[in-house]
C-alpha cells in the first residue's frame, strides 16, 4: 500500500512516481498539500508524505501545536458559560469559543435537557469550522439522533497530549499505523479504566481507582514526550504498574 514515506518541506517538488495515478478515481488531496493549477501539487507544511493508492489520495502527516477545528473531528470541549441557546465551550486555551446548542444532546427537549456547569467537559463532534465563523460542535449525531458516546464526561481526569499522538490514538489500526500500544498494554495488565480521546490534544481517563487513572495518564504522557516505540511502551507500562503496586 504505502512504499515510500519521504520527508517533505514546504515548497518541495514531489517526485512524480509518488503521485498515485488512476484513470477511474480523481486524485484526492488531504491536509498539508495544495493544488496550484494547472498541474502542480506542493506541500505547504513539513512532515511525512503519505500516499494511498487504493483510495487514490495523498496527504502530509505533520505535527502542530495549535488545534484547528475540522468538521467530523471528535474533541473534548470544556464548557465556559451558558448562553440563551448555546453553551460556549473552549476547544483549546486562548482561542475563540465554540458553540454547543442546548438541545444537541440525545433525547433533549427544552424541559429535559442536561444542565452543564461551567467547567464541566463534554465529548463532542465538530460540525462547522471555517475561518470566517466560530466553530460549532454537537453532542448528538444529526442523522441518527443517537449520542454514540458523546456527551458529558463525569469524573476522571483530563491529560494533555500532542496533536499527533491524539491522531495516532484515534487511528483505526493504531498498533500498525500509529505504533501505539500503550492502551492495550495497560488493559492487559488488568487496569480498569475508560478513555475518551479528543483530537484537540486532550485525553479523558475515567476509572474507579485514582491510582489507575494516574498510571494511565503517566503512561500516555511519557509515551508522547519520549516518543517511545512499541517495545519501549510495553516496558514503560510494566514499570509503571509495578510501581503502582
Amino acid at each position: 500500500m504505502t512504499t515510500e514515506r519521504p520527508l517533505v518541506l514546504p515548497g518541495d517538488t514531489i517526485p512524480p512516481h509518488l503521485i498515485p495515478s488512476s484513470t477511474t478515481k480523481p486524485l484526492r488531496l488531504g491536509p498539508g498539500l495544495r493544488h496550484l493549477p494547472p498541474s502542480d501539487i506542493i506541500p505547504v507544511v513539513a512532515g511525512q508524505l503519505i500516499t494511498n493508492h487504493q483510495k487514490n489520495s495523498m496527504w502530509v502527516e505533520y505535527n502542530n501545536n495549535r488545534y484547528l477545528p475540522t468538521p467530523g473531528d471528535l474533541i473534548i470541549a470544556q464548557i465556559h458559560r451558558s448562553g440563551p441557546d448555546f453553551y460556549y465551550c473552549s476547544l483549546s486555551p486562548y482561542t475563540p469559543h465554540a458553540t454547543l446548542p442546548h438541545l444537541s444532546f440525545e433525547s433533549a427537549t427544552k424541559k429535559t435537557r442536561p444542565q452543564l456547569q461551567p467547567g464541566s467537559i463534554v465529548y463532542a463532534r465538530v460540525v462547522l469550522a471555517n475561518k470566517h465563523m466560530d466553530p460549532e460542535v454537537e453532542c448528538v449525531s444529526q442523522s441518527t439522533g443517537k449520542s454514540d458516546g458523546l456527551g458529558e464526561l463525569k469524573g476522571g481526569m483530563v491529560f494533555d497530549v500532542s496533536l499527533q499522538f491524539a491522531r495516532r490514538l484515534l487511528m483505526a489500526k493504531s498498533r500498525e499505523e500509529g505504533k501505539v500500544e500503550v492502551l492495550e498494554a495497560l488493559g492487559a495488565e488488568g487496569l480498569a479504566f475508560e478513555i475518551a480521546v479528543g483530537r484537540n490534544g486532550r485525553v479523558w481517563v475515567g476509572g474507579e481507582d485514582p491510582k489507575a487513572v494516574v498510571v494511565v495518564g503517566r503512561a500516555l504522557k511519557e509515551t508522547d514526550e519520549g516518543r517511545l516505540g512499541v517495545e519501549e511502551q510495553r516496558k514503560l507500562v510494566r514499570r509503571l504498574v509495578k510501581g503502582m503496586k
Binding site: H80, R81, P118, G119
Partner: protein, 277 residues
C-alpha cells in the same frame, strides 16, 4: 538598641516599660462613618488605622489577570462563584517619622493589599455573594510598628460592622525575639507586640489567627531569625492574637449594647447574659 542589654537583663522591661508578653494599649471603635456599610478605627499603641468596608456590591469593570489593585477570594475564571475581596491601602505621607509619599504602584503596598485580601477571604463567607465585590479601604494615619497586624484587625472589625457573614474574627499581632540571628542563645525571650524601634532592630514576625484556635491564616516574617527561635515567637504571637480577639470582641459587644439602648436594634433572646444598665 531598644533592648539595652544592661537594663533589660536587670528589670526585664522594654524601652516603653512593657514586659515581654504585654500588648500595647488597643483602642478600637466601630461605626465611625455612618455613610459606609461598615467602618472602624483602631489604635495599637501609636499605630492608627481607619478602615471602611463597602459591599457586597456590583463588581467593578472586569480586570482579569492583569489587575493593578490586588483582588482576592476564590472563584473560577470567567464567572466568580465567590465574591471578590478588593483591598485598597493608602499610607499617609505624614504617618511615619520622615514624610514619605508612596506612589500607587508601590510593591510593598501591593503585597499588603494582596495579603489582606487573601486573609479576609479565608474567613468571609464569600460563597454567599457570587458575582459581587467587597471593597475594603484602609487609611494609615500613624505608624509605630505592627502595621500589617493593625490593618488586619481594623479590617476584621469593619467587616463585622458591615454585617458580612464570617466564620470568626481574624486577629493579628506581632512577635519578636531578643536574640539576633547569629547568636544561638537559649535565654533569648520572645517579645509580644513590637513597636517601630523594636521592629527595625530585632527579628520579628506578624501572625494572624482565626478566632480562638491555633490555626494560622497569615504569617509574615521579613527578618533573619534562627529556626530554633521560631517556635517561641509563633507561640507568643498566637497567644497575643487570642488576647487581641478578646479586646475586639468587647468593642463589638459594647457597640451592640449602645445600639440596643438607643433603640436602633431590638434586644434579642440570646442576649440575656448581656448586662444592660
Amino acid at each position: 538598641m531598644p533592648l539595652d542589654t544592661s537594663t533589660y537583663g536587670l528589670a526585664l522591661l522594654r524601652v516603653d516599660g512593657r514586659r515581654w508578653n504585654e500588648l500595647r494599649r488597643i483602642h478600637a471603635q466601630i461605626r465611625t462613618q455612618a455613610a459606609a456599610d461598615g467602618s472602624s478605627y483602631l489604635e495599637m499603641g501609636h499605630t492608627k488605622v481607619m478602615c471602611v468596608v463597602t459591599g457586597p456590591s456590583e463588581p467593578g469593570p472586569r480586570r482579569g489577570a492583569a489587575g493593578g489593585a490586588a483582588g482576592g477570594g476564590g472563584g473560577a475564571g470567567g464567572q466568580s462563584k465567590d465574591a471578590e475581596v478588593v483591598v485598597n491601602i493608602v499610607i499617609a505621607g505624614f504617618s511615619s517619622v520622615d514624610r514619605k509619599r508612596r506612589g500607587r504602584g508601590d510593591k510593598r503596598t501591593l503585597e499588603m493589599q494582596s495579603t489582606l485580601a487573601n486573609t479576609l477571604a479565608a474567613t468571609l463567607h464569600t460563597h454567599l455573594f457570587p458575582h459581587s465585590q467587597i471593597n475594603i479601604s484602609l487609611h494609615v494615619l500613624s505608624q509605630d510598628g505592627s502595621l500589617l497586624a493593625a490593618l488586619i484587625n481594623a479590617a476584621t472589625l469593619a467587616c463585622v460592622d458591615a454585617g458580612i457573614p464570617m466564620t470568626d474574627y481574624v486577629t493579628a499581632c506581632t512577635a519578636g525575639s531578643t536574640s539576633t540571628y547569629a547568636a544561638n542563645d537559649e535565654g533569648a525571650d520572645p517579645l509580644l507586640d513590637l513597636n517601630h524601634q523594636e521592629e527595625q532592630e530585632l527579628p520579628g514576625l506578624t501572625v494572624a489567627t482565626l478566632g480562638d484556635s491555633d490555626r494560622v491564616v497569615a504569617l509574615v516574617c521579613e527578618s533573619r531569625v534562627q529556626i530554633s527561635r521560631l517556635e517561641g515567637m509563633l507561640a507568643v504571637g498566637v497567644d497575643g492574637c487570642k488576647q487581641v480577639r478578646e479586646i475586639l470582641d468587647q468593642v463589638i459587644k459594647a457597640q451592640g449594647q449602645k445600639m440596643i439602648l438607643e433603640g436602633t436594634v431590638d434586644k434579642g433572646t440570646g442576649l440575656n447574659d448581656m448586662d444592660l444598665d
